[in-house]
């Protein structure tokens, strides 16, 4: 597996430099503005998968390098597993950079204190896994153009939601209720006491989501012709 991760890192080194620069600026900004660790957690959960998982696949598509990768002495399932592990390694590394930066440069060390708590760390993993479970297979199936179209569709849906919410008032509007439910779910996860059961459920959910992401992505990748 190490040779696969090494291959991913070498082939995506340009992206890694951009990623490293972005993460550094991101943490400096978070600490400088003293932005709530909760907001940074949610934000990171969406940005990191886009930067790691999606961009690696986008580069493979851009250069049509799947011909090369799939011709190497390996099988497609291992390629996808390697990509998922590499993505997670980078996302965790980005978090560790934030924790270290907070420890060294943040006066109240709020990011450090928050993320080294098991519950918050697991919630970060859960949010990231939730986003990844949609994004990772989506990019494999629809490619970079699919992601761009998807983002435009999301934008349009957002505008429609806003318009509908204003037109019909906030109470009883389905979309508004749905958004509220998501926010409440996030608050519930972050505010729930760290009981053994709760932590176990979080770990189990993260594991299930990632296994599903892996298996579904492998299924989609195996069906592709290059």
């Amino acid at each position: 597996m190490l040779k696969h991760i090494r291959r991913e890192l070498i082939f995506n080194q340009t992206q890694l430099y951009i990623f490293a620069g972005y993460i550094l600026v991101f943490w400096i900004w978070i600490v400088w503005q003293n932005i709530s660790p909760r907001i940074s957690l949610v934000f990171l959960s969406f940005v990191l998968p886009l930067f790691c998982a999606a961009s690696f696949q986008a580069r493979e598509e851009k250069f049509k390098a799947w011909t090369l990768n799939c011709s190497l002495p390996t099988n497609r399932n291992t390629l996808i597993l390697a990509r998922l592990i590499t993505s997670w390694s980078l996302m965790i590394a980005a978090l560790i950079v934030g924790i270290l930066y907070s420890a060294l440069f943040q006066k109240n060390h709020s990011i450090l204190y928050q993320f080294i708590q098991l519950k918050y760390f697991l919630v970060f993993l859960l949010f990231t896994s939730l986003f990844l479970v949609f994004l990772f297979p989506f990019v494999i199936r629809f490619g970079l153009s699919g992601v761009l179209i998807g983002l435009v569709v999301l934008q349009i849906l957002g505008i429609i939601t806003l318009v509908l919410t204003r037109a019909s008032g906030s109470k009883g509007n389905f979309l508004h209720t749905m958004i509220d439910s998501i926010i409440n779910f996030m608050k519930f996860l972050l505010n729930h006491p760290s009981t053994f059961f709760y932590v176990t459920v979080l770990i189990f959910s993260v594991a299930v989501l990632n296994i599903f992401t892996l298996k579904f992505s492998q299924f989609l990748f195996a069906r592709r012709d290059f």
């Binding site: 040779k3 082939f11 995506n12 080194q13 099988n75």
Partner: protein, 288 residues
């Protein structure tokens, strides 16, 4: 005879094109030339062997093993050169090689560096900065640096200048001095194959027209030229195709010796080249 590649009833369906139940073998230690016009199915066949595309039915065995069940093991013994080399364009050549090398147990770094030097390829250059010819050379360097037992090359000489084409063919000849190595060389530049191929497989419209030793083809196939329309009066043995011209008729036969004994004395016959054979078959005026 031991076979490096065995293909049986291989079928792949695309919209508008079908590779139709193709069967042929590549004997171990020989060069098989895969010829056919553009769009005949040569690339599809090579991609199927490499499992880059999924077959609809049939079987592919490489080194006697199923190509999907033993995918990693088989691919570690294959060197591949595709018609368009697709590498990460913004990565330096040495980095690309360094990422690929650990996948091959028999990777020879000294040989790789020697080949890079022979082909005048700069290690520190990014792939996107290379010309098409240099890209092909780099692809070839990688394919030859891990002592591959089977070398698959899809149109490796297309777009190359004559000097490098000559160098490439010489390099291929040197490699094939090792009788353990096998090569599948797809091209539509048939003159390249006449120099190095031992066997020729002709594919047209997704069907194998023939798969035979090159010597047999060059000895037995020929063109009969006549001012008269021979088809009206004589049954031409081994008739494959014909073309009516302003001056009469030209007939391609796979049995030129017998044909010569039957045709009229005012006809002339000559040996067919691979290009002639491809031309007549592509013309499509084949005899039923």
């Amino acid at each position: 005879m031991e076979h490096a590649v065995q293909i049986e009833n291989l079928r792949k369906e695309f919209k508008g094109f079908t590779l139709k139940d193709v069967s042929f073998n590549i004997p171990k230690g020989y060069v098989m030339g895969l010829i056919g016009p553009n769009g005949a199915g040569k690339t599809t066949l090579i991609k199927l062997i490499m499992n880059l595309i999924r077959k609809n039915s049939g079987q592919i065995r490489v080194f006697g093993k199923d190509h999907i069940q033993h995918e990693s093991e088989i691919k570690s013994r294959i060197g591949f050169v595709y018609d368009i080399p697709h590498f990460y364009e913004d990565i330096k050549l040495k980095s690309t090689a360094s990422a690929i090398a650990p996948f091959y147990p028999k990777w020879d770094q000294d040989l790789f560096l020697k080949l890079m030097n022979e082909f005048s390829l700069p290690l520190d250059k990014k792939f996107k900065k290379l010309s098409h010819g240099m890209k092909m050379k780099f692809s070839l360097c990688l394919a030859l640096s891990h002592d591959a037992d089977l070398i698959l090359m899809d149109e490796p000489t297309s777009g190359l200048d004559p000097v490098f084409r000559q160098e490439l063919l010489e390099k291929m000849s040197q490699i094939m001095l090792d009788e353990e190595k096998t090569m599948l060389f797809s091209t539509h530049i048939t003159s390249d194959l006449e120099r190095i191929a031992d066997y020729i497989t002709l594919i047209h419209n997704g069907e194998i027209i023939f798969s035979s030793p090159l010597d047999n083809i060059l000895q037995n196939w020929g063109i009969v030229k006549s001012e008269k329309d021979l088809l009206d009066k004589t049954e031409i043995p081994g008739l494959v195709g014909y073309e009516k011209t302003n001056y009469g008729i030209e007939i391609l036969t796979s049995d030129i010796k017998t044909a010569q004994t039957l045709i009229s004395s005012d006809s002339i016959s000559e040996k067919a080249t691979l290009e002639d054979i491809m031309y007549f078959i592509k013309k499509g005026e084949t005899h039923a």
